[in-house]
């Protein structure tokens, strides 16, 4: 027998082309650590715009619960109040009962379609400017910059070993973050109760446990999402970046790196030009990357992570100004405009990008270059979105303005269906619910319409039997009464079984009708 070594050496043995499934060559990490991002402070028109939006959105959020709105002595005077305990929602002059929740559903549908409309025209403007995640991260970054300094200082601090100074900075940053987070959670609960009362209760420790729980949860989410996770929320947790792909088309504005004028980028433009090389506007300074709160490079093209906050536009415009070149190397542009310009710069795709084709001899862009025109906002798609959006809005507004503030619901007794009385008359029982949906006490008149000879009487309401009852109903309340309707024997055989309960407020002329049925031994089933 030969030894194993001989076998290997044997030329007769064929080498099989096989590889271990977990060989180091194909292995890759299953998860990746977050890379820290240190966004540099940007300045420019978009940054300014974002400050304004931030002030408005935060202002709305924190101040709304403190607005007062006089509704008289029988309703709360908080302008916006979600009164879960009493199941009422107050919004300035509008009061919504639970059965009117469709208004809120309608608003959500409008918000959805509005988001489609905005996205199809100006891209992910929601993400970049008004999303709470964006606004709060911005706020948290303000704190971070104020304490730890701008990008370079922060990078340095992060890599420095722990010292008293670093500890103090980190500690104060996180404390302020937590305070903001508490204020955020704290503001939320004010929407659900009378704000001044609740504030006193919160401070004195006598508020409901659910209020403290809510504040604790929202404090945690605000602190974790705004301070610690930031861009991870947008990239990994939020579904909207995925959905937006369906909303965007070639005429939607997105933050675009115009490589048709930027490439070939060069860090040493003068040398390159001297060497006779063609050079684009991009000087590869990485300013756009440094300011990006998502930590991406917009020059890699449109990507999932980009929230279109436009800070890279500000950064790049600043650089272009310094270099004396035209602004807009990074700009809001549509794909169709971009493609046009790219065709110009590559002579219809026949060459690689040649900056000379889009730049005049003075270094300015030529007139052939296409810029975004506002008329492109108006296209069939946006008309459809806007049409659907405004249709729902108008329908809801109409429904709101014409809605009833006085309603009647009636439940006809089924067991027994009718009661034969000793004088041969027939009696039917009804549970009548009167809804007084305004914050004023009212006397509501309930009367019979039709049903010849019919009279009625209500349990617990001391009024003589007749065809009409005056029922006092408390402000903003439902009153349930039992009504017995009686029809004398001489009428019951007429088979006239349909009649109406009419409820009226004789002061405001509001009126509601319920079409009821009267059962007699002849028609009962």
């Amino acid at each position: 027998m030969t030894l194993a070594t001989d076998t290997v050496a044997s030329p007769d043995v064929e080498r099989i082309d096989a590889e271990a499934v977990n060989s180091a060559k194909t292995r890759q990490p299953l998860y990746a650590a977050r890379k820290k991002i240190f966004p540099k402070r940007a300045s420019g028109q978009f940054r300014r715009f974002k400050w304004i939006i931030m002030a408005i959105t935060l202002g709305i959020y924190y101040l709304t619960p403190w607005l007062r709105w006089d509704r008289g002595p029988y309703a709360p005077d908080q302008a916006v109040l979600i009164d879960l305990a009493n199941r009422r929602f107050y919004f300035f002059f509008i009061e919504i009962w639970p059965q009117e929740f469709f208004y809120v559903a309608g608003l959500l549908v409008m918000a959805g379609i509005g988001l489609f409309l905005i996205t199809s025209t100006v891209g992910r403007a929601w993400c970049g400017y008004t999303c709470p995640q964006t606004v709060w991260v911005d706020l948290f970054l303000v704190v971070e910059r104020a304490i730890e300094g701008d990008r370079n200082a922060r990078i340095k601090l992060d890599s420095a070993s722990w010292s008293g100074g670093k500890l103090a900075k980190r500690f104060s940053k996180h404390v302020i973050w937590l305070l903001i987070a508490v204020a955020t959670g704290g503001a939320w609960v004010f929407y659900f109760a009378d704000a001044p009362t609740l504030l006193v209760n919160l401070v004195t420790g006598s508020a409901a446990p659910v209020a403290y729980m809510t504040i604790a949860i929202l404090t945690a989410t605000t602190y974790v999402f705004g301070g610690l996770m930031r861009e991870q929320v947008c990239t990994y947790m939020c579904p909207w970046p995925r959905i937006q792909a369906a909303m965007l088309d070639e005429n939607s504005l997105t933050v675009t790196y115009n490589d048709w004028r930027g490439e070939p980028r060069s860090r040493h433009a003068k040398k390159a030009i001297a060497a006779g090389e063609s050079v684009g506007d991009c000087v590869d300074c990485n300013a756009c990357v440094a300011v990006c709160p998502m930590g991406i490079d917009i020059r890699d093209g449109q990507q999932l992570e980009c929230i279109t906050c436009a800070l890279c536009i500000d950064a790049c415009d600043g650089v272009m100004d310094k270099l004396g070149r035209e602004r807009g190397l990074i700009s809001y542009a549509t794909l169709s405009d971009y493609n046009n310009n790219m065709a110009l710069a590559t002579a219809g795709g026949s060459t690689s990008i040649d900056p000379k084709l889009v730049h005049g001899t003075d270094g300015k862009l030529t007139d052939n270059v296409v810029h975004f025109h506002w008329q492109k906002i108006f296209r069939p798609r946006t008309f459809v979105y806007f049409g659907a959006w405004s249709l729902i809005g108008v329908a809801m507004l109409y429904a709101l303005l014409t809605r009833d503030r006085l309603e009647v619901n009636v439940l006809h007794d089924r067991n027994p269906q009718y009661v034969l009385l000793s004088d041969g008359a027939v009696r039917n029982g009804y549970t009548v619910k009167l809804l007084n949906m305004i914050p004023e006490p009212r006397v509501i008149f309930v009367s019979l319409e039709g049903l010849p000879g019919g009279t009625m009487q209500a349990v617990g309401i001391d009024q003589p039997e007749g065809r009409s009852l005056a029922v006092p109903v408390e402000p903003d309340k439902l009153r349930e009464i039992r009504i017995f309707v009686r029809q004398p024997a001489e009428y019951t055989k007429d088979g006239n079984e349909r009649f109406n309960f009419v409820v009226e407020d004789k002061a405001s002329f509001e009126r509601d009708v319920y079409h009821a049925k009267f059962n007699t031994p002849e028609n009962a089933r």
Binding site: P416, R427, A489
Partner: protein
């Protein structure tokens, strides 16, 4: 799988799957996601220790927090009955008229009475208190023993012809089959029908008038209006417990059916009887 698929644009490896030219990138998961996943596992374990969870042979682990849904239910029920304690006391203490006058008490008593009715009374009187042949309809305005709240209470508390209750209501209509001749019974039945309708034979009814005056009017009254003090039914109204035809009436004269209602005071206690009274009173026939 041995081959490594790399997406050209992103430089990221793909899973190797392709749908209509679209490939799935195989980006690594963020590490916090993995930690969150581990966190949920730890949470689940802690949960099964804190709460009843693991099935054992005869029962399950109790959980260190000692929670049980049965315990929660009884706590809730205790809280509810504590909330209702003042209402119950008020109903036990106050007279019926006062309970009827107080909207809160009346509503509570009506609901409680309705529930008690379903359990104890519906077997005979029907779930809607509509009665049946031989069992009075409690919705109508015809009362054998009176329809005011005190009379209703008395009837429920002590029953009708209830054995073992000294205060029970008793009305004893004699079996006239032993007293009157069959012809007289026919006559009186025709006469009774004539109170409210048209008898089959006017002459028969006329003949029955004397028989009625001699034998029936003492309890049922000359006009057949009945007498609630002795539980004699009104024969001049539209409501008939045992049928309204001449044959039915004749049968009832010959050998009367005598319904029995149990006395409930001893079984249910006075508060429950009061609640039942308020419920019955509220059905529409209360006077």
């Amino acid at each position: 799988m041995s081959e490594k698929h790399i997406d050209e644009i992103s430089g990221v490896s793909t899973t190797g799957h392709e749908w209509d030219g679209i490939k799935e990138l195989d980006n690594p998961m963020p590490r916090w996601w993995v930690w969150t996943f581990y966190g949920t596992i730890v949470w689940a374990l802690a949960y099964t220790i804190a709460y009843p969870a693991w099935p054992m042979i005869s029962s399950a682990t109790k959980g260190v927090l000692g929670y049980s849904s049965r315990q929660e239910l009884s706590t809730t029920l205790e809280a509810v009955s504590a909330e209702q304690a003042s209402l119950r006391t008020a109903i036990a203490e106050k007279p019926l008229e006062e309970i009827l006058g107080d909207e809160t008490l009346r509503r509570f008593a009506t609901s409680a009475g309705s529930a008690a009715f379903k359990v104890n009374c519906s077997q005979c009187h029907g779930s809607g208190a509509q009665g049946a042949a031989g069992y009075p309809n409690l919705n109508d305005d015809d009362w054998l023993w009176g329809g005011d709240i005190e009379s209703i209470h008395q009837t429920i508390a002590h029953g009708i012809r209830a054995e073992g209750d000294d205060d029970t209501r008793i009305s004893d209509m004699p079996a006239f089959g032993d007293i009157l001749s069959p012809e007289e019974i026919k006559q009186v039945a025709a006469h009774v029908v004539s109170f409210t309708g048209t008898p089959s034979d006017a002459a028969l009814a006329e003949a029955g008038a004397q028989v009625y005056a001699d034998n029936c009017a003492a309890c049922h009254g000359e006009q057949g209006k009945g007498d609630i003090s002795v539980g004699a039914p009104n024969l001049a109204d539209a409501i008939w417990l045992y049928g309204s035809s001449e044959a039915d009436i004749a049968a009832q004269v010959r050998l009367p059916k005598q319904g029995v209602m149990p006395a409930w005071q001893a079984r249910l206690g006075d508060p429950a009887v009061k609640q039942l009274s308020v419920y019955i009173y509220s059905l529409g026939g209360g006077q």
